[in-house]
C-alpha cells in the first residue's frame, strides 16, 4: 500500500469500526457479562492462564505490578462508610475491552496493535518493540508487558510444565506487550471451519476459554452482527449501541442494566456489562 493510497483512503483504513457508512460485515466479536451472575470465583482467570500460555510471575514480580493475568477479577466495596459491607462486594471481570476506537492503537509507533476486520484489537507480537505507550494509554489497564523472558524463568515454566503450553498460542518473549485476544486462536479455527463449509460461524459454535469455564454462565460471547446470536439479543434488549459514546436509553430508561465502562472516553468498548442487582427489601 503506497503512502498516497493510504492517505486517500485513510478513513477506510483507520475506521474498521462502524462509523455510519462503514458497518461491520460478517463478524464483530463482542461480549456481555452479567455482574448479577458473576460470583467473583476466578475460574475464568485460571482458564485464561491455561488456554493462553500466561506466565506465572511469582510473588516478587507480582509485587512490582508485573502480573500477567489477561483476565482479572476486580473487587470493589461500597463507599458509603457503613461499618460493614452488608450488601456484599462488587466483582468485575476485567479484560481487554476490544475497543472499536482503541486508544492503545493510535499511539503504537510501529503499528503492532491495530484493529481487525472482525472487530478485535489485535496485538502483533513480532512487530512489538516494547515502547509500552499502548499500556500507558489504556483506560482499563489490561495490557501486560513481558519484563522478563518468562520461558527461561524457572518459576513460570519448569521443563515439565512446558508440556502444558497450548501449541495454538505463541509464547511471548521479553520486551513485548500482550493482552486478552478474545481467544483469537479459537475464533480463527471456527472461522476457517465455517468457511470450508461455505457458511458463517454459528452462535455457540465458538466459546472463549473464560466463557467456557464460567460456572454461572455470566459471560456470553458471540458475533454482534448475527441477529440470532445471544450477545446481539442482549445488547439490543439492553439498548446499548456499539457506536455511541452515550446511550440514548440512559436519558429516560432506568430499568435496564446494560452499560459499558468509561464510555464517555469514546473508546467504544465491545464488552457490555449488566449491572449487579441487589434486593431492596432485605
Amino acid at each position: 500500500m503506497s503512502v498516497s493510497n493510504l492517505l486517500e483512503n485513510w478513513s477506510k483504513v483507520r475506521h474498521t469500526h462502524p462509523v455510519g457508512d462503514v458497518p461491520h460485515e460478517e463478524y464483530k466479536w463482542a461480549m456481555a457479562i452479567d455482574l448479577d451472575a458473576c460470583t467473583g470465583c476466578n475460574a475464568c482467570s485460571v482458564a485464561c492462564y491455561a488456554e493462553n500460555n500466561i506466565a506465572v510471575v511469582g510473588k516478587e514480580k507480582y509485587a512490582h505490578g508485573q502480573a500477567m493475568h489477561w483476565m482479572r477479577i476486580e473487587r470493589y466495596w461500597d463507599e458509603d462508610e457503613r461499618e460493614f459491607p452488608d450488601q456484599g462486594a462488587q466483582f468485575l471481570p476485567m479484560m481487554c475491552q476490544q475497543c472499536e476506537a482503541a486508544p492503545c492503537e493510535t499511539v503504537c509507533p510501529v503499528g503492532a496493535t491495530n484493529h481487525t476486520a472482525d472487530g478485535l484489537n489485535s496485538q502483533v507480537y513480532n512487530r512489538c518493540v516494547g515502547s509500552r505507550y499502548c499500556s500507558a494509554n489504556c483506560p482499563f489497564k489490561v495490557r501486560y508487558f513481558n519484563w522478563w523472558d518468562y520461558p527461561d524463568q524457572e518459576n513460570a515454566w519448569p521443563d515439565e510444565m512446558k508440556q502444558q503450553l497450548n501449541p495454538d498460542v505463541t509464547v511471548r518473549t521479553k520486551g513485548v506487550m500482550e493482552k486478552c485476544t478474545f481467544c483469537v486462536q479459537r475464533l480463527t479455527a471456527a472461522k476457517n471451519m465455517a468457511r470450508n463449509e461455505g457458511r458463517l460461524v454459528k452462535d455457540g459454535e465458538v466459546q472463549t476459554a473464560c466463557q467456557q469455564a464460567c460456572p454461572t454462565n455470566a459471560i456470553s460471547f458471540g458475533n454482534l452482527v448475527d441477529a440470532e446470536s445471544r450477545v446481539h439479543k442482549q445488547w439490543k434488549q439492553q439498548q446499548v449501541e456499539l457506536a455511541e459514546d452515550a446511550q440514548a436509553k440512559d436519558e429516560y430508561f432506568t430499568d435496564l442494566r446494560g452499560y459499558r465502562i468509561l464510555e464517555d472516553l469514546r473508546a467504544y468498548p465491545s464488552v457490555m456489562y449488566l449491572e449487579r442487582v441487589r434486593e431492596s427489601a432485605i
Binding site: 455482574l35 460470583t39 467473583g40 470465583c41 476466578n42 475460574a43 485460571v46 482458564a47 492462564y49 491455561a50 488456554e51 506465572v56 510471575v57 511469582g58 510473588k59 509485587a63 502480573a67 482479572r72 477479577i73 476486580e74 473487587r75 470493589y76 466495596w77 460493614f84 459491607p85 450488601q87 456484599g88 462486594a89 462488587q90 466483582f91 468485575l92 520461558p151 518459576n155 515439565e160 510444565m161 508440556q163 502444558q164 501449541p167 505463541t170 509464547v171 476459554a209 469455564a213 460456572p215 454461572t216 454462565n217 442482549q234 434488549q237 432506568t254 430499568d255 442494566r257 465502562i261 456489562y273 449491572e275 449487579r276 442487582v277 441487589r278 434486593e279 431492596s280 427489601a281 432485605i282
Partner: protein, 732 residues
C-alpha cells in the same frame, strides 16, 4: 482408510502442510530447537494422535471430592487443558479454577518419581516386598489405614486389602469437611447429603455455607445459583442472605450479609422461628414451646443482629416460600456445632422446605462403591490409638495429617510411635517426610479409577477417571495398581488373574453392566461407551427423606469470653487453597483470593475498628497466638468480618511439598485448640481464641487491589441497581 487411497499428490500435500506447521511453530522455545527433542515423522502414528489437532477424552476431576466430570484436550499426546464434561449432572460442562489447575498437578516439577525407603530410592519390587515382610509379622489390629474420603473401585480394593490383613482400623479423614452438618442431616432428614435445590428456592438463608466457594459441590451450586438469580424464572429473582462472622465468597454475593457474633447461629435460627410464629406462621406446639424464650430482644443481644433485621428476615422467609436454609462451616465449627445445625434444620422444617427445596438423594445401588466421606474425628481417634502405641504399621493415602493436624494433638510425635509408616504420595509433603516408605503415585491424568461423588445432585452416577496421556515418570504407579500388587501378595488366587488394575477395573465394571444400564450391549461396546462418556448414570430409585428435626434438647451455652485471648479465630476455607493439598500449583497461588485479592501469602483479616483499637495498619506483621500455638502473618484490614473475630486462610504455610508451596504463608491448622463438637467429636474449627500483637515489622501487602483499596472514585465501573429499580422480566 489412509492406506487405501493415499496417493503421491496427497502425500506431498500432507508434507507441505506439515512443513508449514513446523515453520509456524518454529518461532522459538520448541524443544526441537533446543536440541532436547528430535523430529520424528509419524510413520506409525499413535492412535488418536493427529498432528496439529486436539482430541478430547472424558475423565473425572480429582482436585476435590465434588466429582466433576472433565474433558481433557490432548494434542500430540500431551494433555493441555481441562474442560467440563457437559454430560455430567454435577458440573454440566463447567469448571472452577481449582479444577483447571489439575494439569499443574500432573506436570508438577516437584512430583515424586520413585519409591523411597528411609530417604533412599528403592525399586518397586523391593518396596512392595518390604510391606509384604512387615505385614506378615503383624496381627491385623496392629495395622491401621488413614485415607481421605473415597469411593469407587479403589475403595473396594482398600477394603479388600484391609480384610486380607484382618485390619478393621480404617480412619477416613478430611481436614475440611461438612462432617457435623452431615451428622445433623442424618438426624433431621434421615440422610447425610440431601439434595439442595437452590434453583427452586425463592430465598436462601445461609448460615456460613460457602456454597459458591469451597463448600460441598461449588461448581454445581454455582449453576443452581445462576438459575436462582434469574429474574425471568417463574419464582422471580431469588434473595440470598448470608449470616456469618467472616464474609465468604458467598457472603460477598449476598443481598444482605449479616455479621453474626461467632457461634450464635442456633440462637438466631430459633429467634427467627420465634419471630415467624409471632408473624402468624403456624408452628408445631413443641417447637413454639422450645422457642418461647427467644424473643427478638434477647436474640439480638446475644447474636449482635438488630431486632429490625430479625424482623426483616422473618418477613422475608414468610413471603418467600419455598425457601432454603443452609448450615455451613461457620455454623458447625463449635462445641455446640451439632446444636446449631439442628436448630437450622428445625427452621427448615417449620418453613416447610423439607421435600420442596431439600430432597432425597438418589440411592447408590452398590454400597461398596458409594462415597465414604471423611471427617475430622477420624484423625483424633487414630491419634489416640497411635499415642497408646497400638498401631505398629500405618498406611496413609490422600491425606497429609502432619500438616493438617493441630499441634495440640501432638500428631507428629504420636505418628512416630508406629514402627512402619507407608505413605502414598504425589509430593514429598510433611507426612511423606515422616514415612519409612513413600510410594509415588500417578497423577490423576495418568491413573485409572472410578468415583461416586458423595453429593449427588441428580441420579447416582459412576464417574470414570482414565489416563489422558502416557505416564510422565516411569517410576510412579497408580493407587489401584499398588493395591492390586499388595492384594496379590495376600490373595493370589483371587487377584492373580488380573495383570493390572485396568484389567481388574474393566472386569469389575463390565461384570455389572446389567445393573449399570448396559444389559443389552456386549462387553466391548459397553466398556468403550463408558470410557467415551466418562461416566455411567446409574439407574435406580430415589431415596427417602424424613422430616424429623426436633426442638428437643436444643440448648445453647452462653458465650464465655476469655480475657487473655479476646478474639475468635475463624480459619477460612478458600476456594483456591482449601486444606492445602493443592498448594503446589502455581496458578492457585497466583490467583488472587477473591475477597482480599492477596496472592502468594497468608494474611490476617481484622475489622478496621478492631485494628484501630490495637493500632494495627495494613501490612503490619502481627502475631496471632492461641493457647496451642501462634503464627505470624501480614494484617489485612477487612470490613467483612465481625469485630470480635480474626480470620486466617487455611492451606498455606507448608514446610515441604514443593517449590510453590514451601514457605509461602503460615499454617493456621497448627494453632487450632483441640476442642470438639460435643455430639460428634469433630474438631470444632472455630473454637480457638486468640490474641493479636504487633511484631514491629511492616511490609507492603502484595495484592491485586489497587492503592485506592477497592474504591471506584465516583466512576461507574462495577455498577449496581436495587431490585425495585430494574425490570428483569424481558431479559434475554
Amino acid at each position: 482408510m489412509i492406506e487405501n487411497n493415499f496417493n503421491r499428490r496427497d502425500f506431498l500435500k500432507v508434507l507441505g502442510w506439515g512443513g508449514a506447521a513446523v515453520t509456524l511453530s518454529g518461532c522459538g522455545f520448541t524443544s526441537v530447537q533446543d536440541g532436547t527433542e528430535t523430529v520424528v515423522s509419524y510413520v506409525e502414528p499413535t492412535e488418536y494422535a493427529l498432528p496439529g489437532i486436539g482430541v478430547y477424552f472424558n475423565s473425572t476431576c480429582a482436585q476435590c471430592d465434588a466429582g466433576c466430570s472433565i474433558t481433557g484436550r490432548v494434542r500430540e499426546g500431551r494433555a493441555l487443558k481441562l474442560e467440563g464434561n457437559a454430560a455430567s449432572s454435577i458440573n454440566r460442562g463447567k469448571m472452577c479454577g481449582l479444577g483447571q489447575a489439575g494439569v499443574q498437578a500432573h506436570y508438577n516439577p516437584d512430583r515424586l518419581r520413585e519409591p523411597m525407603f528411609k530417604g533412599q530410592p528403592v525399586a518397586w519390587d523391593k518396596a512392595l516386598g518390604l510391606i509384604d515382610e512387615k505385614v506378615k509379622t503383624l496381627k491385623g489390629d496392629d495395622v491401621a489405614f488413614l485415607t481421605g474420603g473415597m469411593s469407587g473401585h479403589v475403595k473396594v480394593l482398600f477394603k479388600n486389602y484391609m480384610d486380607a490383613l484382618g485390619s478393621k482400623n480404617h480412619y477416613v479423614y478430611e481436614a475440611v469437611s461438612p462432617s457435623v452438618v452431615r451428622a445433623a442431616n442424618k438426624k433431621a432428614y434421615g440422610v447425610e447429603a440431601p439434595r439442595l435445590r437452590l434453583d427452586k428456592a425463592k430465598a436462601v438463608v445461609s448460615f456460613g455455607a460457602d456454597f459458591l466457594g469451597a463448600w460441598v459441590s461449588p461448581v454445581h451450586f454455582s449453576q443452581q445459583y445462576a438459575q436462582f438469580r434469574k429474574g425471568n424464572r417463574p419464582e422471580g429473582r431469588g434473595v440470598l442472605v448470608q449470616i456469618e462472622p467472616k464474609m465468604t465468597l458467598t457472603g460477598a454475593n449476598a443481598d444482605r450479609w449479616i455479621p453474626l457474633r461467632p457461634g450464635t447461629d442456633g440462637v438466631l435460627a430459633l429467634g427467627i422461628i420465634h419471630a415467624l410464629a409471632k408473624n402468624g406462621l403456624s408452628v408445631p406446639a413443641d417447637v413454639a414451646a422450645a422457642v418461647k424464650d427467644y424473643a427478638p430482644e434477647r436474640v439480638s443481644q446475644e447474636t449482635g443482629v438488630s431486632v429490625e433485621q430479625i424482623g426483616k428476615l422473618a418477613a422475608l422467609l414468610k413471603t418467600h416460600t419455598p425457601s432454603l436454609v443452609l448450615a455451613g462451616d461457620a455454623a458447625e465449627g463449635y462445641q455446640h456445632g451439632s446444636q446449631n445445625a439442628a436448630a437450622i434444620a428445625l427452621l427448615n422444617r417449620v418453613l416447610g422446605n423439607v421435600g420442596k427445596t431439600i430432597e432425597a438423594p438418589a440411592n447408590v445401588p452398590f454400597p461398596q462403591i458409594a462415597a465414604q466421606g471423611g471427617n475430622r474425628a477420624a484423625l483424633q481417634a487414630l491419634n489416640g490409638k497411635l499415642a497408646s502405641g497400638k498401631v505398629q504399621m500405618l498406611f496413609v493415602h490422600g491425606a497429609n495429617p502432619v500438616y493438617t493436624a493441630p499441634l495440640s494433638l501432638k500428631f507428629k510425635e504420636n505418628l512416630n510411635k508406629a514402627t512402619f509408616k507407608v505413605v502414598f504420595a504425589h509430593y514429598m509433603d510433611e507426612t511423606a517426610l515422616q514415612a519409612d516408605l513413600v510410594l509415588p503415585l500417578d497423577s490423576a491424568l495418568e491413573d485409572w479409577a472410578t468415583a461416586v461423588p458423595e453429593y449427588l445432585p441428580e441420579g447416582a452416577q459412576l464417574n470414570v477417571q482414565q489416563p489422558l496421556m502416557e505416564k510422565l515418570h516411569a517410576g510412579t504407579r497408580g493407587t489401584g495398581d499398588i493395591l492390586l500388587a499388595l492384594l496379590k501378595q495376600r490373595r493370589a488366587n483371587e487377584y492373580g488373574k488380573f495383570d493390572d488394575f485396568y484389567a481388574y477395573l474393566r472386569n469389575a465394571v463390565v461384570s455389572i453392566k446389567g445393573a449399570l444400564g448396559g444389559g443389552g450391549k456386549d462387553e466391548d461396546t459397553f466398556w468403550a461407551e463408558t470410557l467415551s462418556e466418562g461416566l455411567v448414570k446409574l439407574p435406580g430409585s430415589g431415596g427417602n427423606l424424613s422430616s424429623k428435626a426436633s426442638a428437643a434438647g436444643l440448648h445453647f451455652p452462653a458465650v464465655v469470653e476469655d480475657a487473655a485471648y479476646p478474639l475468635r479465630l475463624i480459619p477460612s476455607v478458600t476456594a483456591n487453597m482449601r486444606d492445602g493439598r493443592n498448594a503446589n500449583q502455581p496458578w492457585l497461588q497466583e490467583s488472587p483470593d477473591p475477597l482480599t485479592t492477596i496472592v502468594w501469602d497468608s494474611w490476617v483479616e481484622i475489622h478496621p475498628k478492631t485494628a484501630a483499637k490495637l493500632g494495627i495498619v495494613e501490612g503490619d506483621i502481627v502475631e496471632v497466638a492461641s493457647k496451642s500455638g501462634s503464627i505470624k502473618a501480614q494484617a489485612y484490614l477487612f470490613p467483612g468480618i465481625h469485630p470480635d473475630a480474626v480470620s486466617v486462610p487455611l492451606g498455606y504455610g507448608h514446610e515441604a511439598m514443593g517449590r510453590y508451596a514451601k514457605g509461602v504463608g503460615a499454617n493456621a491448622f497448627a494453632m487450632l485448640d483441640a476442642v470438639s463438637d460435643q455430639e460428634t467429636g469433630e474438631l470444632a474449627m472455630n473454637e480457638t481464641r486468640v490474641k493479636i500483637g504487633k511484631t514491629g515489622q511492616r511490609i507492603i501487602v502484595i495484592k491485586e487491589e489497587g492503592v485506592a483499596g477497592g474504591k471506584q472514585a465516583g466512576k461507574k465501573i462495577a455498577a449496581r441497581l436495587a431490585s425495585d429499580k430494574v425490570d428483569l422480566s424481558k431479559e434475554v
